[in-house]
Symmetry: C2
Subunit: 108 residues, 2 copies
């Protein structure tokens, strides 16, 4: 289990990464994070949906509705070019973070 405070800085990046595979919606994203991380990280619902709001406000994702005649209406999200650029930056930053944090981590 990974605590939220250590991965916090990467929630937005994780979501964007999954949207690179194509448009998706909250519940699906949530399940994919769970699966891909092998249950090691489970993003809370409220965290996820508040991330969507923030990402959209920043222009990193777009939201839209699909034509659905059944089921509770889903909000779909799609990554924007700006979002891709931001994702790339965060990937670079991740490499740097790994290097830096690793200097303070030792095997005991």
């Amino acid at each position: 289990m990974i605590s939220s405070d250590v991965i916090r800085g990467y929630n937005d990046t994780i979501i964007l990464s999954l949207l690179l595979d194509g448009e998706s919606y909250g519940y699906e994203i949530s399940k994919r994070i769970r699966m891909l991380s092998e249950e090691k990280y489970i993003m809370k619902e409220t965290t996820l949906y508040s991330a969507f709001t923030r990402l959209e406000k920043n222009g990193f994702i777009d939201s839209f509705f699909m034509d659905e005649t059944f089921g509770k209406r889903r909000t779909y999200y799609r990554i924007t070019p700006l979002g891709r650029a931001y994702y790339r930056e965060k990937c670079e930053e991740w490499k740097l973070t790994q290097e830096v944090v690793s200097k303070f981590i030792r095997e005991l």
Copy 2:
């Protein structure tokens, strides 16, 4: 430069790691983080001192004063056995976090 939000979850761990080398105080810790990270991460003063307060409250560090007849009085900190245990946990968590986050990071 690493933004504070991505490294946020590791500030306490970074401080504890430096205290493993022996007791130290705020200003010194701050300089060592700066140097060890090759200026890639600079912990803000307020962040650092509030981390000390939190760590002490949690029993992970002890504070004390040294006999000093000159200079502004420094508060020294020393890691406790509890702090060492916590540090070890965080090191394990770091490995897990690296694995998990890496799954969402791609070369583009």
